[in-house]
Symmetry: C2
Subunit: 246 residues, 2 copies
DNA sequence: CTTGTTAGGGTCAGAATGACTATAACTCAC
DNA sequence: GTGAGTTATAGTCATTCTGACCCTAACAAG
């Protein structure tokens, strides 16, 4: 039933199960002032792929849910709490690791820029521009590319962009997120019009002082905050995914 | 954090890994003529949940990819090949199974109605209306509900409905799929207009004879056929997911 | 007070959408 | 064979959404 393959060669043990996490944060380029997507990677300190950069991850603890394990990845590498955490995909190809059969359940997370600035680089943890994160260990190049694709999808459908920002933000900052994620320029006026009709965003009565131009109004996100779209199983907040697209 | 349960009893071994598959097929109600979504379930022949109905599934073979394992589930329970197969979600809650820690990577599949009619029920395999598939073993109720939600999402975004049908189909049949999945009536004229501007559907020069009304034209699906949106890893056809919304 | 720059309001044409009407082409009852 | 019933298919019309564009408001810097 398992085909003609000779099974005795490989370890016929159960495949190893690991949790990895793609952590996206926003950073502002000091020179251009544009927002960019960054992510932290950890250096491999053992074989295989020793010395290469890889997504933070590790085995699944016997007493933690998948999401808790991803959360722990996030804390361990960046000392941050996620503002957004969602399952990305389960990767289980036969040739992912040369040494053993490995199935990785990958999560992706968003953190706020103010938090990301706190998380300093260390010897074995470094932040990379998402576009420049290539040559990673295992199949992590593909995983990052897929996570970016999912991020673009979620942003265009319009639910997660807020989670990159603090609790008060200007529309220009929010537009910067969209432009960084989608990689294209957006018309400020049309962008404003669309977001005025959006559900989970509300204008405050404050403005941002201190800039050199007209002070922009500050807005607030009113939707589900640590939103993690996941079917019921998990112990933490279970909330049906806001479906359409994907 | 883990509640009042006595945890020391649990096996602290690595979690068991299983693959399950939600298989959707279309059936036409003989009386009303309307299309409905059905799925096959298998009866549990061992503890836990002995005697209850459950999603087809089983352990992951050491030498098969995740997708291959899901394909095998499909063949074993229905003797069918999938026209569409995609990963749904990885479920890993702590309390999914009373006897052991169990992580299930769930796939969902679409099969054609002509094929589904061939797959007869047996003692331990029975087809259920999707809406009536409740009271299942484990957390499979939630999994089915989530799969239906994903199905609705994919249909509205408009890529998978064809996979329910044969290689030639009328627009009325296709509309029946949409109506069965979305659970609402669609205007035939507007539906036609939208699909004429759709990419991967083309009119043939044939019409369907034998009905009692004006013979409808037959259409053909020209897009990616055994489409399985999955990031690069898998050994089989890797094709980027058509993003938005998932 | 002038200039440069961004915030924020508006207009206008084209595209997409939903509700609806009209005609075509077939079967069936009689 | 003729009319009734039913579905296929085309078209119309008002509303909404979208992208491109313009204009004024409000600030800082010189």
């Amino acid at each position: 039933m398992y085909g003609s393959a000779n099974v005795s060669e490989r370890q016929s043990q159960a495949p190893a199960l690991a949790i990895s996490t793609v952590i996206f944060a926003l950073r502002t380029d000091p020179s251009s002032g544009r927002s960019e997507i960054w992510l932290p990677l950890v250096r491999r300190i053992r074989q295989p792929h020793l010395g290469k950069w890889a997504l933070p991850g590790g085995p699944l603890g016997a007493r933690e849910s998948l999401q808790d394990a991803a959360s722990r990845n996030l804390r361990d590498t960046t000392a941050l709490d996620p503002t957004y955490l969602e399952q990305l995909y389960a990767f289980g190809g036969l040739d992912r690791s040369a040494t053993q059969r490995l199935v990785s359940i990958v999560y992706w997370a968003l953190v706020r820029p103010d938090q990301a600035d706190l998380a300093r680089d260390s010897e074995n943890v470094r932040w990379f521009r998402a576009a420049e994160a290539v040559g990673l260990a295992f199949d992590h190049d593909e995983i990052v590319a897929y996570a970016l694709e999912r991020l673009r999808g979620k942003v265009t459908y319009g639910s997660v962009a807020y989670h990159f920002l603090g609790d008060r933000f200007t529309l220009a900052q929010l537009r910067g997120v969209y432009e960084a994620v989608l990689g294209k320029h957006l018309d400020p006026a049309n962008f404003r019009r669309q977001l005025r009709s959006a559900q989970d965003i509300a204008a405050t009565d404050e403005v941002l002082q201190g800039g050199r131009n007209r002070p922009p109004r500050l807005y607030r996100y009113t939707g589900p905050h640590s939103g993690a779209p996941a079917p019921g199983t998990s112990t933490s907040g279970a909330e049906p995914p806001t479906a359409p697209a994907s």
